[in-house]
Structure formats: structure tokens, C-alpha cells
């Protein structure tokens, strides 16, 4: 019998899942947590295990054609499956989305890249959509925030969370078009749906500094430290980010960020603000333990967060 009131959802959401290299290396806890969340919510992840690295917006400085062709191959994998491509990394999303929009608008480019792909058995016609996990959790046409709310078992009541959007999930907005570039709401909505309290601060749409970590470390750590310290000063218990590269600079590099801020005379003592991946935040509210979500591997202790939930 047909469901009339939109009652039970029989259609399971299924995505071509592009986890990204960082979630298989220095942020394994992200992939673990995303897989836990997906399984719990009945979202099927068809992992593109044969997909190459997106190049993180770096390799195209050296070899644009190689980078574009490898990413066109990844998009073609999702196209073959007839699925939306899902990322859990803002940077992968940004790189793949930018190429996708270019290829959709520029037939010459599409043909050129398909010429390179020829011998690999892949062709890309430009029909795929690229989405970040955060968007699919919030967007009612995907999983949606109202259904997510119903699933919350352990509301993050009393937990003050500073959303750190970063760059590639917001800009350029004419290309991505999900959130407002200066006043985004998706991560705030998610935090509130999970029962947490959001902390507003200026740095939430700025850069974490990760891309210049190797080139200009002082500036890089100053960026991370400034945002962390601002959020902490505004009363945050934790930061949450949709990007594992941001996580690396905000968490693994927090001791360095503290050092730079101390040298600048902007900080006495430590910041000590844990940073959570979006998936970890969701999984905590779904009732999973911090240990299952790899929170014990974070550089900054998450004990204060654990004590509050």
C-alpha cells in the first residue's frame, strides 16, 4: 500500500562516497565516524575505492590537466553508478565541484578530458552532483534536518559549539550555492538540531591556515590560533568543522598555534579547545561513545566535551 502521509521512508539514500585521503591517513577517525553515522541513518555509502586523490587545489598549480583528468575520472565513477558524489571533506568537495561546474559549462573542456580518459574506460558527461555530507544532513531533499532531529538519542544539551565553516564549503558561493558566503547557517542548524548551543564568532568563515602550513607556518598557525582563541573567549566548549584539513590545523597544530599567539602577546597560557568533525558530533548525539569515534586520538583532549554529554 502506498504511503500517503510521507510516513515511513522506504527509499534509502545511496551515495557514491569519496572519502578523501586525509580520512584514510591522519584523520582516520573521520571515516570511522561517517561510516557509523551513515549506517545508523540508513544512508548507503558506495565507496569509490579506485578514485585518485583530488589534489587538494595544490597539484593543479603544477599540472592542471593531470589533476582535472583524474578528478573527471572520479566524477565518471559516480556517473556510472547513477549516484550523487558524497564527500566528507570541504576541500575534496571544493575541488570536485569546481571542476564539475567547469566541465558542465565548457563542452570543449569536457571533450578534451574525455580524450585523456579514453583508454581508462571512463567518460564523463557532466550529470553528477557533488555534495558534502553536512549539506545532505541539513537539506530536507536529502536526509534532512527534521529526520535527523528524530534520531537524536543523546542531545548535546549544554554543549557550546563554535561552528568552523572554513573556505571551500562556502566560497565561491556562485559555484556552490548552498550557504550564504558571509552568513552561513548549515552547521549552526546542525548543531542546534543535535541539541547543542552555537557560539557565534568572527572567524567562523575564515581560513584555518592549513594551505600555507608548509610555506608560512607562523601565519598559518596565527590564523588557526586566532579563530580558536576567539571561539574559546566567547565561551565555546568545542569547535566543529566539516573539513579534515581544518581539523589538522585546529587540532593537531593547536600547540603550535598557541606558541605563535603567545609570541604575539595575544595569549597567556593555553587555548585547549577540542575540535570535532561534523560526523563525530552527529554520532555523539546518536548515542555513540567518544572512543568508538576515535576522539581519544585527537591531539587536544576531548575530555571536557565528554564530561558535558
Amino acid at each position: 500500500m502506498a504511503e500517503e502521509n510521507g510516513g515511513t521512508e522506504t527509499e534509502r539514500k545511496r551515495y557514491a562516497f569519496y572519502p578523501g585521503c586525509v580520512s584514510k591517513g591522519a584523520c582516520k577517525e573521520l571515516k570511522t565516524s561517517t561510516e557509523i553515522v551513515a549506517k545508523h541513518l540508513g544512508i548507503e555509502l558506495d565507496e569509490l575505492t579506485e578514485a585518485a586523490c583530488c589534489g587538494a587545489g595544490v597539484t593543479d598549480d603544477v599540472n592542471e590537466e593531470m589533476t582535472d583528468a583524474l578528478n573527471a575520472r572520479t566524477l565518471a565513477m559516480a556517473e556510472q553508478r547513477g549516484l550523487t558524489l558524497l564527500t566528507q571533506c570541504s576541500t575534496c568537495q571544493g575541488v570536485l565541484n569546481k571542476l564539475n561546474k567547469e566541465v558542465q559549462a565548457d563542452e570543449d573542456k569536457r571533450e578534451r578530458l574525455n580524450g585523456i580518459l579514453d583508454e581508462t574506460g571512463y567518460q564523463y558527461d557532466g550529470t553528477v552532483e557533488v555534495k558534502h555530507l553536512l549539506w545532505t544532513l541539513v537539506d530536507e531533499e536529502e536526509y534532512g534536518i527534521s529526520k535527523l532531529k528524530e534520531q537524536v538519542k543523546r542531545p548535546l544539551t549544554g554543549l557550546r559549539i563554535a561552528p568552523f565553516y572554513g573556505c571551500y564549503i562556502l566560497r565561491p558561493s556562485d559555484l556552490l550555492g548552498f550557504d550564504h558566503p558571509h552568513r552561513p547557517t548549515s552547521l549552526d542548524e546542525l548543531i542546534e538540531a543535535l541539541g547543542g548551543e552555537t557560539v557565534d564568532y568572527k572567524g567562523k568563515t575564515k581560513c584555518c591556515g592549513f594551505p600555507i602550513q608548509m610555506m608560512r607556518p607562523t601565519n598559518s598557525f596565527r590564523m588557526a590560533g586566532t579563530h580558536l582563541n576567539e571561539a574559546k573567549t566567547k565561551g565555546a566548549d568545542a569547535m566543529a568543522t566539516p573539513c579534515p584539513l581544518c581539523h589538522l590545523n585546529l587540532d593537531a597544530r593547536q600547540p603550535d598555534a598557541e606558541r605563535v599567539l603567545q609570541q604575539d602577546g595575544k595569549l597567556a597560557g593555553s587555548i585547549d579547545l577540542p575540535t570535532l568533525h561534523v560526523s563525530q558530533l552527529v554520532a555523539l548525539a546518536l548515542g555513540y561513545s567518544p572512543k568508538e569515534l576515535g576522539m581519544d586520538t585527537h591531539i587536544v583532549s576531548t575530555k571536557a566535551v565528554e564530561a558535558k554529554i
Binding site: A52, V62, R73, C207, R253, I299
Partner: protein
Amino acid sequence: MSELITFRIRRFNPESGEEAYYEDFTFEPPNPEATLLDCINHIKWHIDGTLTYRMSCRSAICGSCAMRVNGGGQLVCNAQFQDYLDENGVVTIEPVGNMPVVKDLVTDFSDFWNKVHSVNPYVQYADEDAERSNDGEHRMDPTDFAKINEASTCILCGACYSECVSYEADRNFLGPAALAKAQRLVNDTRDETKQERLEALSEYGGMWDCAHCFACVQACPKPVNPLYRIIDLRREAHKEGFHDNNGSRHARGFVEIIEESGWLDEAKLPVKSVGSVSEFVADLLPMGVRMGLKNKYRPNPLHMIPGRHHPEIPKMEEVKTIIQKTRLDKEDETAEAEGEADHG
């Protein structure tokens, strides 16, 4: 009668001795299609004549009226107020960021101009004193012109500096507009100082200090899109052999790693990026130890040996086919082959 709207404007008058504050102006918009600038003019002409700001052409040509609207730098003459009202009918207007405020919405552009001037923003000859024929004509191939077309549209409005995160973190950074201007000259076939320019631009404060955050692309009212011009500069620097800096080592090392295994080796890339043992010991080693102790990440040291690498992704042969077809030296080979064919 149309609905009332509110412009929340950041005010500051250094002569008053007071701190900056926000003032709400609530009024009936001059017309439903009014631009943000029309509304600001309306305030000045009909409500408060002391409101101070720069404006001139009203056509996005002069670059005078950059301000921060709802938190982002942009021109106010090329945007309609209707698109910027929040749910309470409020638009927030502030002076552009990253510059000292002179009064209200007027900022001091001194450092912006210093940065633009410091890249020698005009075509230069290798020897300025040399005799040269003055036939008044320089011919440029359309494909060469295409490389400088976008950067040439810069109106020096400063919206990009307003939002630049690297400039915010370090005033030594040249910044988006100056680097876009530099790209316009590096790729100008009339300029004879490309090598000197690229060398200077590879230094501290130059192209490698950009954090790739897209804030300037978001802010730019023209097709300049400074970040994309900075990427053009980096491509040119790679091509011309300016490799002795962490930015270049990082990007080339990243490509090498993908060529080896198809995916990023996060332990190998930082090691390939740094230029000295001291950087490795002072920065990378403590981070590696920190991550290892927490069991966050423990790479296999054997993968660091030249010629060795972490496991390849499945179907690596497909990746290798693509790499083979897009090899950078391929163009030279093709050109040589064509050259031989021509001679043959």
C-alpha cells in the same frame, strides 16, 4: 508606499574622541530597484549629511565605493538593496576591512597602494636606457592577450584586501590586487623582466603566502578573481624553474606522490616540502611524535625511502595511463615531433 528598510552603518569620527558605533537609519528606499549606493546617498542627502564615504561613477568602473556589506567586501554601486535585506529588513554596512578607518566608511588605502606600487605595475624593459625604435606599436598574439585579459580589468577597489586572510595575518603579504597586477605583467609579452619578477614574487610575502581561501574571488566585482591569477603566477614559476621554496616543493612533491601511488601520503609530503633539516627537526618531527603518541597517525618509515611508497590505490594502472597522457614534458615532445615533421 514601499516598506521601510534599515541600513545599519558603522560610524566613526576620530575628532569626536568616541569609539566606533553602529547607527540604524530606517527609511523608505528611493525606489524598489535602488542600489546600495543609492540608499547610502539617500541617507546622506536626506537624513544625515555627516555620513562620510567615497563614491564617484556609480557604474562599477571607478572602484571608489568598496565597503563591507553584511560581512563581505564588495562595491555598493552594482548591487541592489533588495538582495541584501536580512529577515528583519536590515542591511549592515561597514568600511572595508584590513585598513585603518579615517572616518565612517572611508579607509586609509596607503598600504594598498604601497603594495601595488611595489610590484612595478608597468611594462619594463631589461635596459630602460637602451635605444629602441619608436614605431609606437607592440603586436600581441590573441592567445597571449587572453592570459592578461582578466587581470587587466582590475579597478583597484580594495574589496579583495578587505577579506584577505593572509594579509590579515601578516601585513608583509603583497595581497590579492598587487599579485593580480604582477601576473598581468609577468604574462605580458612586452615586459622584459619576467625572470626578475618571478624571483621577487617567490620570496616571503609573495605568491606562496596566499592561503587559497577564495575570499578575494568572492569579493572581486570584476573578472580578475585574484586567487586564479595567483595560481597563474605559480604555474609560471613552476614552468620557469623557480623551485627553491617550500610552496613549489610542496606542489611538485604532491604531484610526485600521486604519480607513485594515486593518493596522498601525508607523512611524505611535508618532508618533500621543507627545504632544510632544521625545519624538519624543529617543526615536522615534534608534530609527527605528537601524532604518533596519540595513535592518530603512524606512517611506515620505509615508505619514505626514495623509490618506495605507501600502497597504491586499486586500478593504479588507470591513473598511470592518465599521468602518462598528461605528462608535462609531453608538449615538448609533441612540439619536437611536429618540428621534425615540418623539417622532413
